[in-house]
């Protein structure tokens, strides 16, 4: 007898509906699985056979054929086990015919017949809803995560026998507690706060401006100047994630198996700080079966690159395209993958190997060494850093007795107001933040008055700015005006923005 059960495969971070077809017929006893399967899917044969027996189903020896269709898409992961087991049971006639219709079944089986959690449930349930299915059968541990999706019932099961019990009752999902949709929104909590940062007026200001316009931020300074401390606190001054954004972030973490068991929905903005030995693939995503990289895990949050010049050239260069597109595209023989990568990059670096340049009484590096060190970060990448500030070492008095800084919540309120202004301005343009302005939009939204034009002209000539630096200053000035609630860019905004261009002059000074 032939049966068909729906399950879902994960490609990239998208779910793809897969039909698990099972056929039981007379012939030599054999259990074969086909459908372009990876080895972990093929191993399902052993798991299913044993767990069925241990769950108490004594099945007569027959020829069993299982096909996962579409048969030209490679299937990976262990989430098909439960669907295969239920399909076989139905094909044997152990289940009422048609009881699996309109259902998507996901879960890994243990030899004891238990159902184990799998990564990527959120993407799977989303795909099932899109396909118009009415319920999902998922491992109990994944139930809370799956039920984040509205408009589809998600039922958790602990073991194979429980799953069989459930599906035997027609319409079993109706009225189950798991079927109720929306849960209460968790509020984000961060273990750190800007109140702990004492002194550091320049860094605090730069962090606020960067957050307000989602500008990339470069922190330069000697060791122990608080670069990392500031970067860690950046997510705390970003407005909380919307529900849609939370789902996007959770989906990525779920696929990567990084979702904490007790928090089905991520509410805090991600902060990712990959080590500088990180490979290009780990940073932007990749691998034989492409998986999201750090930049995608930092989606809607902050990607912090500490010790920027220590990263491999290759890793930094591949960052350039995702920073522009806010997406990562990866092509493989069997298809192309797209991962979201809309994050703010904060980078920290020492000005030279020893970290003390230009303080010549402490810095022992020769000019060539300093230049070589700074040259490790390519110009095109530096051009994508809208703000550059120098971190100065904290004075002892500040550290000991200085007043506590302004708390994150207060800064966040100002940032939120600036975001609101940008949302209104950019509605319908496809971008959301000042940092994303380019070309025509820059001209449209950063029009300068006569006084401002004169200032920029003078600065352009006196300071020898490049065209890129000029645009960076305009973008940052727009954010400064938004923070103040000023509709037009004023001289003072340009002046401050020019102060953050920093790195641009450095190369020139060090001839």
């Amino acid at each position: 007898m032939y049966t068909k059960v729906n399950s879902v495969a994960v490609r990239g971070i998208q779910g793809l509906l897969v039909s698990v077809e099972a056929d039981v017929s007379l012939g030599l006893p054999e259990f074969s699985m086909v459908g372009f399967l990876s080895s972990e899917v093929k191993e399902a044969r052993e798991r299913v056979r044993t767990s069925l027996r241990n769950a108490g189903f004594a099945l007569a020896p027959r020829r069993i054929t299982v096909n996962l269709s579409p048969a030209d898409v490679r299937k990976e992961g262990t989430a098909f086990d439960l669907a295969v087991a239920l399909g076989i049971l139905e094909a044997y006639g152990c289940l009422p015919p048609g009881c699996l219709d309109g259902l998507a079944v996901m879960g890994e089986l243990g030899l004891d017949g238990g159902v184990r959690p799998v990564p990527g449930i959120l993407s799977m349930v989303l795909a099932a809803r899109q396909a118009g299915l009415s319920a999902c059968l998922v491992p109990q541990e994944n139930q809370r995560e799956g039920s984040l999706v509205e408009g589809i019932a998600v039922v958790g099961v602990r073991c194979l026998s429980e799953a069989v019990e459930q599906v035997r009752r027609p319409g079993f999902w109706k009225g189950l507690p798991g079927a109720r949709g929306r849960q209460s929104e968790p509020s984000p909590s961060y273990p750190v706060d800007f109140a702990e940062v004492k002194g550091q007026a320049a860094l605090r200001r730069a962090a606020e401006v960067a957050a307000a316009g989602m500008h990339n931020l470069l922190l330069v300074g000697p060791p122990g100047a608080g670069k990392t401390m500031i970067a860690r606190r950046l997510p705390t001054i970003l407005p909380p994630l919307t529900r849609q954004e939370s789902l996007e972030v959770t989906q990525i973490y779920s696929v990567c198996g990084l979702l904490p068991a007790d928090t089905p929905l991520l509410a805090a903005r991600p902060f990712r700080s990959p080590h500088h030995t990180c490979s290009a693939q780990a940073l932007v995503g990749g691998g034989r079966i492409p998986r999201p990289g750090e930049i995608s895990l930092a989606h809607r949050g902050v990607l912090f690159l500490d010790e920027l010049p220590e990263f491999s050239q290759n890793a930094l260069e591949v960052l350039r395209q995702p920073l522009e597109d806010r997406q990562v595209h990866i092509s493989r023989v069997h298809g192309a993958y797209t991962f979201p990568a809309d994050c703010m990059v904060a980078a920290a670096m020492n000005p030279c190997r020893c970290g003390y340049y230009p303080d010549r009484s402490r810095c022992q590096c020769s000019e060539a060494e300093v230049r070589r060190y700074q040259g490790r970060v390519s110009r095109p990448l530096l051009d994508r850093m809208d703000l550059c500030v120098e971190a100065a070492p904290v004075a002892y008095q500040d550290m000991q007795s200085g007043p506590a800084g302004e708390p994150s919540a207060a800064i966040r309120r100002r940032v939120e107001a600036a975001w609101q202004r940008q949302r209104e301005r950019f509605s319908g343009t496809g971008i959301y933040f000042n940092s994303q302005m380019a070309g025509a939009l820059l001209e449209q939204f950063c029009r300068l008055g006569p006084k401002e034009t004169a200032l920029m002209e003078q600065a352009f000539q006196r300071l020898g700015l490049s065209a890129r630096a000029y645009h960076r200053i305009l973008r940052v000035a727009r954010t400064l005006a938004d923070l103040e609630g000023e509709p037009e860019i004023r001289e003072r905004h340009l002046g401050e923005a020019a102060g953050y261009r920093g790195w641009d002059t450095c190369g020139k000074e060090m001839r």
Partner: protein, 353 residues
């Protein structure tokens, strides 16, 4: 065999230093005698090298012609345009390879200092170079990183004459990062070396080239020098040649200025302001009165806390009581007026006036 070719023969022997040549000439009496001598009063290695060059006299002539084509002049003591200052002096070079112009008649000052200098040293060197060139004083230096390059760049900015004495062949730009300066000196100033073309920057070349730097100048100014800086060798040469040495003072205990401060203690002149150098050169100056820049109260508050050492934005804000946003705006204005300069990612210093 012309005399010029014989000099070129000596110049093309890498193991023969100026001292070796001087000794051989002293011992044998004349250049002619050195060329013809079967046994030279030198080491076997030097002897062998000399012998090899002697075997092909036609090649020497060809190479000299080749130099002319490359725009490199080979001048010896007997040439009329050989610098008079070097001709009078026993330890001076016997010949020079020249690109661009040799120093014309007129007063000249050597501006030397550390390669690894502070931002302050660099700014002062540039400013002194500009100032001296503006007064018609030639600036002699060594094209090195740091102080040397900055001083020569300053001189060229003021459209003055500057001459670099190289420790490499005159056709080698060392350090390579001074390519632009090298080309500008070739076009508008001079490049001079006593080493044959193509000579690499060997460590022992530099103390010797310092003697030429000092020989070409009337006064030596050490802008910034640490305890072991090579520019102190230039100062020693100056004393030997009986020339005035001046030093730009540094702060007490500052390791980057130890050399300068020690020179002052040993009796070197002090450069408290640029005019002091003119005075040492015997140029009379009507000292102009310095006027403080006209600044608004806000600008004054920022200007007051800046010094010649770069200071961080945080410190400026704290000292001046201005918020970051206002401070950056004021600093930009001051920078555009040429009063301060931003160095590094966010440090500022006062420019010398």
């Amino acid at each position: 065999m012309t005399e010029r070719e014989m000099w070129y023969w000596l110049a093309s022997l890498p193991s023969w230093s100026g001292k070796t040549i001087g000794q051989a000439l002293d011992r044998l009496g004349s250049l002619e005698a050195v060329w013809n001598a079967r046994e030279l009063p030198v080491t076997p290695l030097q002897q062998e090298e000399a012998q090899r060059g002697r075997r092909e006299p036609e090649r020497l002539a060809a190479e000299l012609e080749q130099l002319e084509r490359q725009g490199i002049r080979f001048v010896t003591r007997s040439c009329p345009d050989f610098p008079a200052r070097l001709r009078r002096w026993k330890d001076g070079p016997f010949f020079l390879f020249v690109k661009g112009r040799l120093p014309p008649e007129g007063t000249a000052a050597a501006l030397v200092g550390s390669r690894k200098c502070t931002e302050y040293g660099r700014l002062q060197a540039e400013e002194l170079g500009r100032f001296l060139a503006g007064k018609g004083v030639h600036v002699i230096s060594g094209l090195a990183l740091g102080v040397d390059g900055a001083a020569q760049r300053g001189a060229l900015q003021a459209s003055g004459y500057s001459c670099a004495v190289l420790g490499t062949g005159v056709d080698v730009c060392y350090p390579a990062s001074h390519r632009t300066l090298y080309r500008e000196l070739e076009a508008r100033g001079g490049l001079v070396s006593e080493y044959a073309t193509g000579s690499p920057p060997l460590p022992y070349h530099f103390p010797l080239r310092n003697r030429i730097i000092c020989g070409l100048a009337d006064v030596v100014v050490v802008v910034e020098a640490g305890r072991k800086s090579g520019s102190l060798i230039t100062a020693d040469w100056a004393l030997e040649q009986g020339k005035d040495v001046l030093a730009v003072p540094g702060r007490m205990g500052d390791p980057m200025s130890q050399g300068c401060n020690r020179l002052i203690r040993q009796g070197a002149g002090i450069v408290a302001e640029p005019e002091d150098i003119l005075e040492a050169l015997g140029i009379r100056t009507g000292k102009k009165k310095k006027t403080a820049p006209e600044l608004s109260a806000e600008e004054q508050s920022i200007w007051r806390c800046l010094g010649t050492e770069p200071c961080g934005l945080d410190w400026i804000c704290q000292e001046s009581g201005q918020p970051v946003s206002a401070a950056l705006m004021i600093l930009l204005r001051l920078e555009m007026r040429g009063l301060v300069r931003q160095v590094g990612a966010g440090r500022y210093l006062r420019l010398p006036r």
